[in-house]
Amino acid sequence: MNASEQDTNQPDRRKFLTAASRTAMAGGLVAGYGTFFAYAGRYLYPARAADKAWMFVAEVSAIPVGKSRDFRLPSGASVVIARQGEDDTVDSFLALSSVCPHLGCQVHWEQVNDRFFCPCHNGVFDAKGKGTAGPPGDAGQSLSQYPLRIESGLLYIEVTAESLATRPLGDGHDPCLRPQPKGNDV
């Protein structure tokens, strides 16, 4: 290659190298910072869903048709498990969640009105958990049901293994914050 050919090729080579280095720089920045933000996003998203577990409730034969049984979950919440049919299948049983499907508040049973009531937005549900008034009634929402399973004549309920309500939230978690008794100076 003579000197004049070298001069002619120079700009192309320079252009190519400039473009290549810019692309590499942009690619490196996007890859580096993109990875960082992707990892940051994934880090902020919960690592796993809450653990679930099957808990034994009672022998199927121990709950007569038309009767119900109070069951306390690990979270401390009370669930009424009712038997509505004669078959020894899960379809005969009903375990209503007390979480309002509207915006997640706790409903409570009003004996006088024969209904579940949600105080947050005035949601009303009948005894079978069907929304009858308020936002859940308007939207046709019902109280959700806990999954049930029958195995060898035994009834099980699927629940979240751990919840905030299982933690002791009382005094004494930080001794520095506990009021100190007075008058014990040595």
Binding site: A50, S75, L103, C120, H121, P135, A165, P168, L169, H173
Partner: protein, 349 residues
């Protein structure tokens, strides 16, 4: 010049004239009316919130097992803790009120119109950040109302189509309120949102400086030869008077109506009467009036319309220049907001 003076002069080459040139922007005469100082009021309150917030953070512990107890310690045992917490609480209330009043002033004087559309949108982002910082701060106390307020807030986010579940999970750090939730709210309240707000405020004020303040002329000022006055010291004096009034107001409110403690959060029992902070009464009543999905989507639509309002207004005014359309819409919106807020305030359910 002394040796010390020369030393500084060599390192900071700014003399009195240059400093005057930097700060002495002529301020239009109408800014002598107090309601035109409403923009400075939330900024002043924001600084107070940062100061009191830093002091509260010295004792606050953002975990379900410690949060309530640490707030009780601040309120009942730490020296002047009750006063600082009350100032923080009332500062938040006044800040939300000041931002809303400032926005109303901008709206009804048409100060959002060309070329200030972008600054209106920045102001809208500041309003949203102010409400979010109010929401996250209220949740930190971990008392019954704040716990259930956070739960309802997260489920409102869950109702947003497509991304609702993602937002809820990111917000709570799980499907439901859990061990990680309070620390997330604390980081959002004390770090992320304040930094975002400082950046937005910087843009907001920079745009005001670049475009200048909108000029109005009142009848009383019509005959005055000079149409403006100096930023320094004249306008600074006005702002200082506002600062003094706000300090007196904050101290009075904090002393007469100190922040109290409600019952500790109980994840198993929603209180019979549940209310959010007053600035969410509108949303709370709206959610009672309409089914979930419609209420959430319509609220989002209203915020979106507010966001792009300068362009909607510009579109209408290009066709009907003399139209009072925006004023009537504004009056209707203000009456609706007041009506729903009062309605929610006076009834238990």
């Amino acid at each position: 010049m002394s040796a010390i003076g020369t030393w500084f002069k060599e390192r900071i080459p700014l003399d009195g004239d240059a400093f005057r040139e930097m700060t002495n922007e002529p301020v239009p005469n109408h800014l002598k009316h107090w309601w035109f100082c409403l923009g400075g009021t939330p900024a002043y309150l924001f600084v107070m919130q940062i100061l009191t917030g830093i002091l509260l953070a010295f004792y606050y512990q953002p975990a379900p097992s410690t949060a309530y107890e640490s707030v009780r310690y601040i309120t009942e045992e730490a020296a002047f803790g009750w006063f600082l917490r009350s100032m923080h609480k009332w500062g938040a209330t006044l800040m939300v009120a000041a931002v809303i009043l400032h926005q109303m002033r901008i709206y009804f004087t048409g100060a959002y119109r060309k070329p200030r559309e972008i600054n209106w949108m920045v102001g809208m982002l500041l309003l949203i950040c102010t409400l979010m910082i109010g929401f996250t701060g209220y949740s930190l106390v971990f008392e019954q109302l704040s716990y259930w307020g956070a739960t309802v807030g997260a489920n409102i986010a869950d109702g947003v189509p497509l991304v609702g579940g993602l937002i809820k999970n990111l917000m709570l750090g799980g499907e439901t309120y859990n061990d990680h939730t309070l620390s997330r709210f604390f980081i959002l309240h004390a770090a992320v949102l304040p930094v975002v707000m400082v950046l937005l405020l910087f843009v907001h004020i920079a745009l005001i400086r670049m475009q200048g303040v909108t000029e109005f002329q009142f009848k009383a000022d019509a005959n005055k030869e000079k149409k403006s006055f100096n930023f320094f010291p004249d306008h600074i004096y006005t702002e200082l008077i506002m600062g003094l009034v706000i300090m007196i107001l904050l101290c009075t409110l904090a002393s007469i109506f100190p922040a109290s403690m409600g019952p500790r959060a109980d994840p198993l029992t929603t209180p019979e009467v549940i209310k959010p902070e007053w600035f969410f009464y509108v949303m709370f009543r709206w959610l009672k009036l309409f089914p979930g999905a419609f209420a959430i989507l319509s609220s989002g639509l209203i915020v979106a319309i507010m966001f792009v309002w300068p362009f909607i207004d510009g579109f209408v005014r290009r066709r009907k220049p003399a139209s009072e359309f925006s004023v009537w819409i504004g009056i209707l919106a203000v009456l609706t907001i007041i009506g729903l807020t009062v309605w929610e305030a006076v009834v238990a359910h």
